[in-house]
Protein backbone atom coordinates (compact mmCIF):
# COMPACT_ATOMS: atom_id res chain seq x y z
CA UNK A 1 0.00 0.00 0.00
CA UNK A 2 1.19 3.49 -0.80
CA UNK A 3 2.38 5.53 2.14
CA UNK A 4 0.15 8.45 3.09
CA UNK A 5 3.15 10.50 4.26
CA UNK A 6 6.26 10.80 2.12
CA UNK A 7 9.58 12.09 3.37
CA UNK A 8 11.75 13.96 0.92
CA UNK A 9 15.14 15.50 1.44
CA UNK A 10 16.09 18.63 -0.39
CA UNK A 11 18.86 21.19 -0.29
CA UNK A 12 16.65 23.25 2.07
CA UNK A 13 16.12 20.42 4.51
CA UNK A 14 13.38 17.85 4.93
CA UNK A 15 9.95 17.95 3.35
CA UNK A 16 6.95 15.88 4.46
CA UNK A 17 4.21 15.42 1.89
CA UNK A 18 0.76 14.45 3.18
CA UNK A 19 -0.88 12.72 0.23
CA UNK A 20 -4.25 14.17 -0.62
CA UNK A 21 -5.75 10.75 -1.48
CA UNK A 22 -5.20 9.48 2.07
CA UNK A 23 -7.48 10.17 5.00
CA UNK A 24 -6.29 12.48 7.72
CA UNK A 25 -6.44 9.67 10.29
CA UNK A 26 -4.21 7.50 8.08
CA UNK A 27 -1.80 10.43 7.70
CA UNK A 28 -1.58 10.85 11.48
CA UNK A 29 -0.81 7.15 11.94
CA UNK A 30 1.84 7.15 9.20
CA UNK A 31 3.31 10.45 10.41
CA UNK A 32 3.75 9.06 13.92
CA UNK A 33 5.40 5.88 12.57
CA UNK A 34 7.69 7.96 10.36
CA UNK A 35 8.70 10.37 13.13
CA UNK A 36 9.31 7.46 15.53
CA UNK A 37 11.62 5.84 12.99
CA UNK A 38 13.42 9.08 12.26
CA UNK A 39 14.00 9.67 15.95
CA UNK A 40 15.55 6.25 16.31
CA UNK A 41 17.69 6.71 13.19
CA UNK A 42 18.82 10.18 14.24
CA UNK A 43 22.11 9.65 15.98
CA UNK A 44 23.08 13.30 16.29
CA UNK A 45 21.54 16.07 18.43
CA UNK A 46 20.87 18.16 15.38
CA UNK A 47 17.50 19.90 15.24
CA UNK A 48 15.36 18.95 12.20
CA UNK A 49 12.79 21.37 10.86
CA UNK A 50 10.17 20.09 8.37
CA UNK A 51 8.39 21.78 5.52
CA UNK A 52 4.97 20.13 5.43
CA UNK A 53 2.99 20.07 2.21
CA UNK A 54 -0.67 18.97 2.40
CA UNK A 55 -1.10 19.03 -1.42
CA UNK A 56 -4.66 19.95 -2.46
CA UNK A 57 -6.06 19.58 1.03
CA UNK A 58 -6.65 22.43 3.45
CA UNK A 59 -6.23 21.30 7.03
CA UNK A 60 -8.75 22.61 9.52
CA UNK A 61 -7.48 24.51 12.54
CA UNK A 62 -8.11 21.41 14.64
CA UNK A 63 -6.15 19.19 12.24
CA UNK A 64 -3.33 21.73 12.17
CA UNK A 65 -3.21 21.62 15.93
CA UNK A 66 -3.11 17.82 15.98
CA UNK A 67 -0.14 17.77 13.57
CA UNK A 68 1.68 20.44 15.58
CA UNK A 69 1.05 18.61 18.87
CA UNK A 70 2.33 15.36 17.43
CA UNK A 71 5.55 16.93 16.11
CA UNK A 72 6.11 18.79 19.39
CA UNK A 73 6.32 15.45 21.21
CA UNK A 74 9.71 14.94 19.57
CA UNK A 75 12.24 17.33 21.09
CA UNK A 76 14.48 17.42 18.02
CA UNK A 77 11.73 17.97 15.47
CA UNK A 78 9.88 21.13 14.59
CA UNK A 79 7.65 22.49 11.83
CA UNK A 80 9.14 25.15 9.60
CA UNK A 81 6.13 25.52 7.32
CA UNK A 82 2.75 23.79 7.03
CA UNK A 83 1.10 24.74 3.73
CA UNK A 84 -1.25 23.52 1.00
CA UNK A 85 -1.32 24.12 -2.74
CA UNK A 86 -4.84 25.49 -2.43
CA UNK A 87 -6.62 28.33 -0.60
CA UNK A 88 -10.25 28.92 0.28
CA UNK A 89 -12.45 30.31 -2.49
CA UNK A 90 -13.28 33.31 -0.29
CA UNK A 91 -9.57 34.03 0.22
CA UNK A 92 -8.93 33.64 -3.51
CA UNK A 93 -11.75 36.05 -4.38
CA UNK A 94 -10.48 38.53 -1.81
CA UNK A 95 -7.01 38.27 -3.32
CA UNK A 96 -8.38 38.90 -6.82
CA UNK A 97 -10.42 41.81 -5.45
CA UNK A 98 -7.33 43.29 -3.80
CA UNK A 99 -5.27 43.02 -6.95
CA UNK A 100 -7.86 44.22 -9.45
CA UNK A 101 -8.19 47.73 -10.80
CA UNK A 102 -11.92 48.40 -10.36
CA UNK A 103 -13.60 50.59 -12.94
CA UNK A 104 -16.14 52.79 -11.18
CA UNK A 105 -18.58 55.03 -13.02
CA UNK A 106 -21.09 56.45 -10.57
CA UNK A 107 -22.00 59.58 -8.67
CA UNK A 108 -20.83 59.71 -5.07
CA UNK A 109 -23.16 62.23 -3.47
CA UNK A 110 -22.90 64.46 -0.41
CA UNK A 111 -22.63 62.20 2.66
CA UNK A 112 -21.94 59.01 0.70
CA UNK A 113 -18.73 57.02 1.14
CA UNK A 114 -17.86 54.52 -1.59
CA UNK A 115 -15.45 51.91 -0.24
CA UNK A 116 -13.48 49.78 -2.68
CA UNK A 117 -11.07 46.94 -2.00
CA UNK A 118 -8.15 47.28 -4.39
CA UNK A 119 -7.28 49.98 -6.91
CA UNK A 120 -9.88 52.24 -8.54
CA UNK A 121 -10.06 53.81 -11.95
CA UNK A 122 -12.80 56.38 -11.41
CA UNK A 123 -14.86 57.82 -14.26
CA UNK A 124 -17.83 59.18 -12.27
CA UNK A 125 -18.47 62.29 -10.24
CA UNK A 126 -17.75 62.91 -6.57
CA UNK A 127 -19.94 65.69 -5.26
CA UNK A 128 -19.02 68.00 -2.41
CA UNK A 129 -19.20 65.95 0.79
CA UNK A 130 -18.75 62.60 -0.98
CA UNK A 131 -15.79 60.30 -0.27
CA UNK A 132 -14.06 57.71 -2.49
CA UNK A 133 -12.12 55.36 -0.26
CA UNK A 134 -9.94 52.55 -1.62
CA UNK A 135 -7.55 50.11 0.02
CA UNK A 136 -5.32 50.54 -3.03
CA UNK A 137 -4.49 53.44 -5.34
CA UNK A 138 -7.00 55.83 -6.92
CA UNK A 139 -6.80 57.00 -10.54
CA UNK A 140 -9.35 59.67 -11.43
CA UNK A 141 -10.64 60.53 -14.88
CA UNK A 142 -13.96 61.98 -13.69
CA UNK A 143 -14.92 65.09 -11.75
CA UNK A 144 -14.04 65.31 -8.09
CA UNK A 145 -15.33 67.90 -5.64
CA UNK A 146 -15.22 65.51 -2.68
CA UNK A 147 -12.48 63.70 -0.79
CA UNK A 148 -10.11 61.00 -2.08
CA UNK A 149 -8.74 58.42 0.32
CA UNK A 150 -6.24 55.89 -1.09
CA UNK A 151 -4.50 53.09 0.78
CA UNK A 152 -7.16 53.10 3.49
CA UNK A 153 -6.53 52.51 6.36
CA UNK A 154 -2.75 52.15 6.46
CA UNK A 155 -1.34 51.07 3.08
CA UNK A 156 1.22 53.80 2.76
CA UNK A 157 2.49 52.63 -0.63
CA UNK A 158 -0.76 53.63 -2.38
CA UNK A 159 -1.10 56.78 -4.49
CA UNK A 160 -3.73 59.15 -5.82
CA UNK A 161 -3.57 60.23 -9.46
CA UNK A 162 -5.97 63.09 -10.12
CA UNK A 163 -6.51 66.69 -11.02
CA UNK A 164 -6.68 68.27 -7.56
CA UNK A 165 -7.89 71.75 -8.44
CA UNK A 166 -11.38 71.03 -7.02
CA UNK A 167 -10.43 68.40 -4.42
CA UNK A 168 -10.63 69.69 -0.84
CA UNK A 169 -9.07 66.77 1.06
CA UNK A 170 -6.81 63.81 0.33
CA UNK A 171 -5.62 60.86 2.33
CA UNK A 172 -2.97 58.30 1.49
CA UNK A 173 -2.42 55.48 3.99
CA UNK A 174 -2.43 56.98 7.44
CA UNK A 175 -1.77 60.57 6.35
CA UNK A 176 -4.60 62.98 5.64
CA UNK A 177 -4.52 66.68 4.83
CA UNK A 178 -6.47 69.53 3.28
CA UNK A 179 -5.20 70.12 -0.23
CA UNK A 180 -2.94 73.13 -0.24
CA UNK A 181 -3.55 74.80 -3.60
CA UNK A 182 -0.04 76.28 -3.42
CA UNK A 183 1.52 72.81 -3.30
CA UNK A 184 -0.31 71.18 -6.18
CA UNK A 185 0.81 71.29 -9.80
CA UNK A 186 -1.33 72.25 -12.78
CA UNK A 187 -3.12 69.29 -14.40
CA UNK A 188 -2.87 65.76 -13.07
CA UNK A 189 -1.09 65.31 -9.75
CA UNK A 190 0.31 62.26 -8.05
CA UNK A 191 -0.19 62.27 -4.29
CA UNK A 192 1.99 59.82 -2.37
CA UNK A 193 3.88 59.38 0.87
CA UNK A 194 7.52 60.32 0.32
CA UNK A 195 10.69 59.08 1.98
CA UNK A 196 10.30 61.40 4.96
CA UNK A 197 6.78 60.05 5.54
CA UNK A 198 4.94 63.19 4.40
CA UNK A 199 2.29 63.63 1.73
CA UNK A 200 3.87 64.94 -1.45
CA UNK A 201 2.48 66.20 -4.76
CA UNK A 202 4.29 65.64 -8.06
CA UNK A 203 3.26 65.86 -11.73
CA UNK A 204 1.91 62.77 -13.48
CA UNK A 205 5.20 62.34 -15.37
CA UNK A 206 6.83 61.42 -12.04
CA UNK A 207 4.43 58.56 -11.28
CA UNK A 208 6.76 55.78 -12.47
CA UNK A 209 9.63 57.22 -10.50
CA UNK A 210 7.76 57.55 -7.20
CA UNK A 211 5.63 54.40 -7.48
CA UNK A 212 7.49 51.96 -9.79
CA UNK A 213 5.64 49.00 -8.26
CA UNK A 214 2.41 50.09 -9.98
CA UNK A 215 3.99 49.11 -13.28
CA UNK A 216 5.60 45.81 -12.33
CA UNK A 217 2.47 43.72 -12.03
CA UNK A 218 2.24 40.58 -14.06
CA UNK A 219 -1.10 39.04 -14.95
CA UNK A 220 -2.76 40.46 -11.86
CA UNK A 221 -0.24 38.80 -9.50
CA UNK A 222 2.03 40.78 -7.28
Amino acid sequence: MQQSVILKASSDGYELIFRQAASFDAIMVDLKTLLDRLQVDNTTDKQISFDMDTESRLLTAEQNQKVTQLVNRYPLFSIHKLAANVILTADALAMVERNTVHLVNQIIRNGQVLEVTGDVLFFGKIHEGGVLRATGSIFVMGEVAGALEAGFPDHNDAAIVSDLSTVPRVRVGELMELVDKEKIVAGTNVVYINDIQALDYVPLTQLKRVRPKLFTRNGGRL
Binding site: R109, N110, G111, Q112, K125
Partner: protein, 268 residues
Protein backbone atom coordinates in the same frame (compact mmCIF):
# COMPACT_ATOMS: atom_id res chain seq x y z
CA UNK B 1 -55.01 52.76 -6.82
CA UNK B 2 -53.39 56.08 -6.02
CA UNK B 3 -49.77 57.09 -6.22
CA UNK B 4 -47.95 58.38 -3.15
CA UNK B 5 -45.40 61.12 -3.78
CA UNK B 6 -43.16 62.48 -1.04
CA UNK B 7 -42.12 66.13 -1.28
CA UNK B 8 -38.74 66.47 0.36
CA UNK B 9 -35.58 68.58 0.31
CA UNK B 10 -33.28 68.01 3.26
CA UNK B 11 -32.93 71.72 3.91
CA UNK B 12 -35.66 73.68 5.60
CA UNK B 13 -37.30 76.77 4.18
CA UNK B 14 -37.02 75.88 0.49
CA UNK B 15 -40.77 75.58 -0.01
CA UNK B 16 -41.68 71.94 0.57
CA UNK B 17 -44.97 72.72 2.25
CA UNK B 18 -45.86 75.46 -0.26
CA UNK B 19 -45.04 73.06 -3.10
CA UNK B 20 -47.14 70.29 -1.54
CA UNK B 21 -50.12 72.62 -1.07
CA UNK B 22 -49.90 74.07 -4.55
CA UNK B 23 -49.30 70.80 -6.39
CA UNK B 24 -52.17 69.20 -4.49
CA UNK B 25 -54.43 72.11 -5.37
CA UNK B 26 -53.30 72.09 -9.01
CA UNK B 27 -53.99 68.35 -9.30
CA UNK B 28 -57.42 68.88 -7.73
CA UNK B 29 -58.07 71.67 -10.25
CA UNK B 30 -57.35 69.07 -12.94
CA UNK B 31 -60.09 66.88 -11.47
CA UNK B 32 -57.84 64.49 -9.59
CA UNK B 33 -58.70 63.31 -6.11
CA UNK B 34 -55.82 64.27 -3.83
CA UNK B 35 -54.94 63.74 -0.19
CA UNK B 36 -52.19 65.84 1.35
CA UNK B 37 -50.50 64.28 4.37
CA UNK B 38 -48.59 66.58 6.69
CA UNK B 39 -45.76 64.61 8.28
CA UNK B 40 -44.08 67.56 9.96
CA UNK B 41 -45.23 66.40 13.37
CA UNK B 42 -44.98 69.15 15.97
CA UNK B 43 -44.50 71.94 13.41
CA UNK B 44 -47.46 71.56 11.12
CA UNK B 45 -47.98 74.28 8.49
CA UNK B 46 -49.75 72.67 5.56
CA UNK B 47 -53.14 73.32 7.13
CA UNK B 48 -52.33 77.03 7.49
CA UNK B 49 -51.27 77.44 3.85
CA UNK B 50 -54.47 75.73 2.72
CA UNK B 51 -56.57 77.81 5.11
CA UNK B 52 -57.81 74.69 6.89
CA UNK B 53 -56.14 75.25 10.25
CA UNK B 54 -59.32 75.96 12.20
CA UNK B 55 -61.08 72.87 10.92
CA UNK B 56 -58.82 70.19 12.39
CA UNK B 57 -60.42 67.71 14.77
CA UNK B 58 -58.09 64.75 14.66
CA UNK B 59 -54.59 64.25 13.27
CA UNK B 60 -52.37 61.46 11.94
CA UNK B 61 -51.09 60.53 15.40
CA UNK B 62 -54.72 60.09 16.53
CA UNK B 63 -55.20 57.76 13.57
CA UNK B 64 -52.14 55.56 14.21
CA UNK B 65 -52.96 55.41 17.92
CA UNK B 66 -56.52 54.35 17.10
CA UNK B 67 -58.17 57.35 18.70
CA UNK B 68 -59.82 58.19 15.37
CA UNK B 69 -60.70 56.59 12.06
CA UNK B 70 -58.81 57.95 9.07
CA UNK B 71 -62.06 59.34 7.61
CA UNK B 72 -62.70 61.31 10.79
CA UNK B 73 -59.25 62.89 10.63
CA UNK B 74 -59.39 63.94 6.94
CA UNK B 75 -60.16 67.63 6.48
CA UNK B 76 -62.03 68.42 3.28
CA UNK B 77 -61.17 71.55 1.31
CA UNK B 78 -64.61 72.91 0.51
CA UNK B 79 -63.34 74.91 -2.48
CA UNK B 80 -63.22 71.64 -4.41
CA UNK B 81 -65.94 69.04 -4.80
CA UNK B 82 -64.64 66.15 -2.75
CA UNK B 83 -61.28 66.34 -4.52
CA UNK B 84 -58.82 67.81 -2.01
CA UNK B 85 -58.31 66.48 1.51
CA UNK B 86 -55.75 67.04 4.22
CA UNK B 87 -54.56 64.58 6.83
CA UNK B 88 -53.03 66.98 9.36
CA UNK B 89 -49.96 66.45 11.51
CA UNK B 90 -50.17 66.43 15.28
CA UNK B 91 -49.07 69.60 16.95
CA UNK B 92 -48.60 68.31 20.49
CA UNK B 93 -46.36 65.35 19.66
CA UNK B 94 -42.93 64.87 18.07
CA UNK B 95 -41.56 62.99 15.08
CA UNK B 96 -40.93 59.89 17.19
CA UNK B 97 -44.69 59.51 17.62
CA UNK B 98 -44.77 57.80 14.25
CA UNK B 99 -42.72 55.01 12.75
CA UNK B 100 -42.24 54.13 9.06
CA UNK B 101 -44.55 51.09 9.22
CA UNK B 102 -47.37 53.19 10.66
CA UNK B 103 -47.00 55.84 7.93
CA UNK B 104 -46.95 53.15 5.25
CA UNK B 105 -50.11 51.61 6.72
CA UNK B 106 -51.88 55.00 6.65
CA UNK B 107 -50.80 55.68 3.05
CA UNK B 108 -51.87 52.18 1.98
CA UNK B 109 -55.26 52.80 3.53
CA UNK B 110 -55.61 56.08 1.62
CA UNK B 111 -54.45 54.76 -1.76
CA UNK B 112 -57.65 53.05 -2.94
CA UNK B 113 -59.68 56.25 -2.41
CA UNK B 114 -57.34 58.82 -4.00
CA UNK B 115 -55.48 59.42 -7.27
CA UNK B 116 -52.56 61.12 -5.50
CA UNK B 117 -51.30 61.17 -1.94
CA UNK B 118 -48.74 63.94 -1.42
CA UNK B 119 -46.57 63.50 1.66
CA UNK B 120 -45.13 66.71 3.06
CA UNK B 121 -41.78 65.69 4.53
CA UNK B 122 -40.21 67.60 7.42
CA UNK B 123 -36.76 69.17 7.00
CA UNK B 124 -33.80 67.01 7.96
CA UNK B 125 -32.85 63.42 7.22
CA UNK B 126 -33.74 61.78 10.52
CA UNK B 127 -36.83 59.95 11.71
CA UNK B 128 -39.31 62.32 10.04
CA UNK B 129 -37.63 61.83 6.67
CA UNK B 130 -37.55 58.06 7.05
CA UNK B 131 -41.24 58.10 8.00
CA UNK B 132 -42.10 60.15 4.92
CA UNK B 133 -40.24 58.03 2.37
CA UNK B 134 -41.53 54.77 3.86
CA UNK B 135 -44.95 55.23 2.34
CA UNK B 136 -43.92 56.81 -0.96
CA UNK B 137 -43.80 55.45 -4.51
CA UNK B 138 -42.06 58.53 -5.93
CA UNK B 139 -40.23 61.59 -4.66
CA UNK B 140 -40.08 65.24 -5.59
CA UNK B 141 -36.91 66.94 -4.41
CA UNK B 142 -37.42 70.66 -3.88
CA UNK B 143 -34.39 72.91 -4.02
CA UNK B 144 -33.79 76.60 -4.43
CA UNK B 145 -30.87 77.78 -6.58
CA UNK B 146 -28.75 78.31 -3.43
CA UNK B 147 -25.66 76.14 -2.96
CA UNK B 148 -26.68 75.11 0.55
CA UNK B 149 -30.08 73.87 -0.66
CA UNK B 150 -28.50 72.04 -3.61
CA UNK B 151 -25.93 70.41 -1.30
CA UNK B 152 -28.73 69.13 0.95
CA UNK B 153 -30.77 68.00 -2.05
CA UNK B 154 -27.73 66.01 -3.18
CA UNK B 155 -27.59 64.34 0.22
CA UNK B 156 -31.28 63.44 0.01
CA UNK B 157 -30.91 62.02 -3.51
CA UNK B 158 -28.08 59.87 -2.13
CA UNK B 159 -30.32 58.62 0.68
CA UNK B 160 -33.07 57.84 -1.82
CA UNK B 161 -30.54 55.78 -3.77
CA UNK B 162 -29.87 53.91 -0.54
CA UNK B 163 -33.60 53.35 0.10
CA UNK B 164 -34.92 53.33 -3.46
CA UNK B 165 -38.56 54.07 -4.23
CA UNK B 166 -40.51 52.60 -7.16
CA UNK B 167 -39.66 55.67 -9.26
CA UNK B 168 -36.47 57.74 -9.45
CA UNK B 169 -36.67 61.13 -7.69
CA UNK B 170 -37.43 64.25 -9.71
CA UNK B 171 -36.35 67.80 -9.13
CA UNK B 172 -38.32 71.01 -8.64
CA UNK B 173 -36.25 74.19 -8.56
CA UNK B 174 -38.21 76.63 -6.46
CA UNK B 175 -38.00 80.34 -5.73
CA UNK B 176 -35.99 81.20 -8.84
CA UNK B 177 -35.11 84.89 -8.97
CA UNK B 178 -34.93 85.48 -12.67
CA UNK B 179 -32.65 88.50 -12.61
CA UNK B 180 -30.08 86.85 -10.34
CA UNK B 181 -30.07 83.69 -12.46
CA UNK B 182 -29.80 85.66 -15.69
CA UNK B 183 -26.89 87.66 -14.26
CA UNK B 184 -25.11 84.46 -13.23
CA UNK B 185 -25.34 85.26 -9.52
CA UNK B 186 -26.93 81.86 -8.85
CA UNK B 187 -26.44 78.49 -10.56
CA UNK B 188 -28.71 78.22 -13.58
CA UNK B 189 -31.30 75.52 -14.20
CA UNK B 190 -29.06 73.41 -16.42
CA UNK B 191 -26.16 73.59 -13.98
CA UNK B 192 -28.34 72.52 -11.04
CA UNK B 193 -29.98 69.68 -12.96
CA UNK B 194 -26.65 68.49 -14.35
CA UNK B 195 -25.02 68.68 -10.94
CA UNK B 196 -27.74 66.68 -9.19
CA UNK B 197 -28.04 64.28 -12.13
CA UNK B 198 -31.77 63.73 -11.70
CA UNK B 199 -34.67 64.56 -14.01
CA UNK B 200 -36.11 68.06 -13.79
CA UNK B 201 -39.84 68.09 -13.07
CA UNK B 202 -40.26 71.84 -13.18
CA UNK B 203 -39.30 75.32 -12.07
CA UNK B 204 -41.14 77.89 -9.99
CA UNK B 205 -40.32 81.59 -10.02
CA UNK B 206 -40.02 83.56 -6.81
CA UNK B 207 -43.00 85.80 -6.34
CA UNK B 208 -44.18 87.97 -3.44
CA UNK B 209 -47.73 86.83 -4.09
CA UNK B 210 -46.84 83.31 -2.94
CA UNK B 211 -46.30 84.59 0.61
CA UNK B 212 -49.23 87.00 0.42
CA UNK B 213 -51.71 84.35 -0.67
CA UNK B 214 -50.44 81.72 1.71
CA UNK B 215 -50.94 84.21 4.56
CA UNK B 216 -54.58 84.27 3.49
CA UNK B 217 -54.84 80.49 3.33
CA UNK B 218 -55.18 80.48 -0.45
CA UNK B 219 -52.55 78.61 -2.45
CA UNK B 220 -51.05 80.78 -5.19
CA UNK B 221 -51.95 78.19 -7.80
CA UNK B 222 -55.55 79.40 -7.68
CA UNK B 223 -54.43 82.57 -9.52
CA UNK B 224 -53.82 81.32 -13.09
CA UNK B 225 -52.03 84.51 -14.20
CA UNK B 226 -49.33 84.39 -11.57
CA UNK B 227 -45.98 83.05 -12.87
CA UNK B 228 -45.39 80.92 -9.76
CA UNK B 229 -48.86 79.48 -10.16
CA UNK B 230 -48.12 78.65 -13.79
CA UNK B 231 -44.96 76.86 -12.64
CA UNK B 232 -46.94 74.72 -10.18
CA UNK B 233 -49.68 74.03 -12.73
CA UNK B 234 -47.07 72.92 -15.27
CA UNK B 235 -45.53 70.56 -12.72
CA UNK B 236 -48.95 69.08 -11.97
CA UNK B 237 -49.51 68.50 -15.69
CA UNK B 238 -46.11 66.79 -15.98
CA UNK B 239 -46.98 64.57 -13.00
CA UNK B 240 -50.07 63.59 -15.00
CA UNK B 241 -47.80 62.61 -17.88
CA UNK B 242 -48.28 65.62 -20.16
CA UNK B 243 -45.35 67.14 -22.03
CA UNK B 244 -45.12 70.78 -21.06
CA UNK B 245 -42.21 73.05 -22.05
CA UNK B 246 -40.24 74.82 -19.34
CA UNK B 247 -41.20 78.40 -18.61
CA UNK B 248 -39.01 81.10 -20.09
CA UNK B 249 -36.48 82.62 -17.74
CA UNK B 250 -36.49 85.93 -19.65
CA UNK B 251 -38.61 88.47 -17.87
CA UNK B 252 -41.11 90.22 -20.08
CA UNK B 253 -40.38 93.92 -20.36
CA UNK B 254 -43.35 95.96 -19.10
CA UNK B 255 -45.36 97.65 -21.81
CA UNK B 256 -46.04 101.40 -22.02
CA UNK B 257 -49.37 101.21 -20.23
CA UNK B 258 -48.11 99.09 -17.38
CA UNK B 259 -45.16 101.48 -16.94
CA UNK B 260 -47.51 104.45 -16.72
CA UNK B 261 -49.69 102.50 -14.30
CA UNK B 262 -46.55 101.76 -12.28
CA UNK B 263 -45.76 105.49 -11.97
CA UNK B 264 -49.23 106.20 -10.59
CA UNK B 265 -48.99 103.17 -8.33
CA UNK B 266 -45.73 104.49 -6.86
CA UNK B 267 -47.19 107.96 -6.39
CA UNK B 268 -50.01 106.50 -4.38
Amino acid sequence: MGKAIVVTSGKGGVGKTTTTANLGTALALMGKKVCLVDLDIGLRNLDVILGLDNRILYDIVDVVENRAQIRQALVKDKRFDDLLFLLPAAQNADKDSLNPDQVKAVVDELKPDFDYILLDCPAGIERGFMNAIAGADAAIIVSTPEISAIRDADRVVGLLEQYPLAEAPKLVINRIRRRMMQDGETMDIDEITHHLSIDLLGIVFDDDAVIRTSNNGEPIVLDPKNPAAQGYRNIARRIEGETVPLMNLEQQKPGVWSRIAGIFHRNN
